[in-house]
Symmetry: C2
Subunit: 228 residues, 2 copies
């Protein structure tokens, strides 16, 4: 069975492992430094914690290599840049960065070695200087999705661009018609409030092929979208 060697080499815009509730929320309410997903807690992402991708990442062994893992591992390969909203870069806070209430400058949730390993473009009305942590460089941009995408694609040097979330950012890129492929993992819980991706996954069916794959783990249902 051959490897991909040529073919469709145009830079794509991809969403991966975006985890939401059955009523469409990517985070809950009441977001704090200790509860970055608010009242959603870790329930949306439980499917991911059971995969070999995750156990490898945290330096453990085991983890399943079933369908959840097959989707989880697609997050990285071929990606040359990520775009995220300020709501993902966090912390749960609006307004200028100087209002954080701490002396320390916020440099993301991820510590000294963030898991992106590419340029990351953070969409925010409050721009600030770029900085690097290990092999990840964060840029702060105040532009519309199409303009930010052009910058990210230039930085990606021919590779794909991942829209990393949150829900508001993914929705902006969907509404602008800029997303090529999307993987959404829907946990069987209702949140009732928070940041919402959609009312229903069928909203996108006029523009995307839509495949639904319930996981045998029972922890999530995978929804795959690719352009018609």
């Amino acid at each position: 069975m051959p490897e991909p060697i040529e073919g469709d080499t145009m830079s794509k815009v991809r969403v991966h492992n975006f985890s939401i509730s059955i009523d469409g929320f990517g985070t809950g309410e009441g977001l704090t430094l200790d509860a970055p997903f608010g009242h959603a807690g870790e329930r949306l992402h439980e499917w991911m914690f059971k995969t070999k991708m995750w156990t490898d990442m945290i330096g453990e062994t085991g983890g399943n290599t079933g369908v959840d893992n097959a989707f989880a591992v697609q997050h990285g390969p071929g990606i040359g840049a990520e775009i995220m909203g300020r709501g993902k870069f966090g912390p749960p806070h609006q307004g200028p960065w100087t209002n954080l209430g701490t002396d320390e400058e916020w440099r993301g949730w991820w510590g000294p070695n963030p898991p992106f390993h590419t340029p990351v473009f953070v969409m925010t009305h409050h721009t600030r200087p770029s900085f690097s942590l290990s092999d990840t460089t964060f840029h702060f941009v105040n532009d519309d999705p199409a303009t930010v995408l052009k910058q990210a694609q230039a930085a990606a040097e021919g590779k794909d661009v991942r829209i990393g979330g949150g829900a508001t950012t993914v929705r902006e890129f969907l509404d602008a018609g800029l997303v090529d492929t999307m993987h959404v993992a829907i946990a069987d819980i209702e949140l009732g409030s928070g940041a919402r991706l959609w009312e229903s996954p069928d909203e996108l069916d006029d523009r995307f092929h839509h495949e639904v794959v319930p996981s045998p783990t029972g922890l999530t249902t995978h929804h795959l979208f690719w352009r018609r």
Copy 2:
């Protein structure tokens, strides 16, 4: 969402995209140069031809990025060597290589750029000198599975080893307890005869976790196995 960075780094033995009939046959009968899968034809692999992995490989666009593709693309990454049976290296023929009936030396089905890009170990009672085509080198070995695996792991330099098939070879490695993870794709056809992987997929449940994922394409059902 982070990338795998450490964790379980031991070289694994993996089977991917191994396509069989519901009655367990990986090829049919009546294998010829023009029909390498015999009376099975291309029916076992139809699910793969619809994926983006495949359309990329043959230089076309389109192709689905759903669950079939998510499994298909796992074939290559992390692999440092393949082991295959003479039945896969072909042609449909037994005995010494000099009995091929042609003046030309058989160098595999895959032309000048085989899709392996690693060392390949062909298990055969009729050894012959190694040769390279592009970045693939074929070695011919007459040894038991454990011995061949040691050679392949040395050649893989810490990466994983793929058992490439056919059915007889995969079964030999399963029976020797040497397979860590396996992906089998079962097409909804019966073949009745040919080279058989198993009587039933449940045969392995005492030794493996076993997950069953019907594809929404209707072209196959994915069976995933990983060691208990």
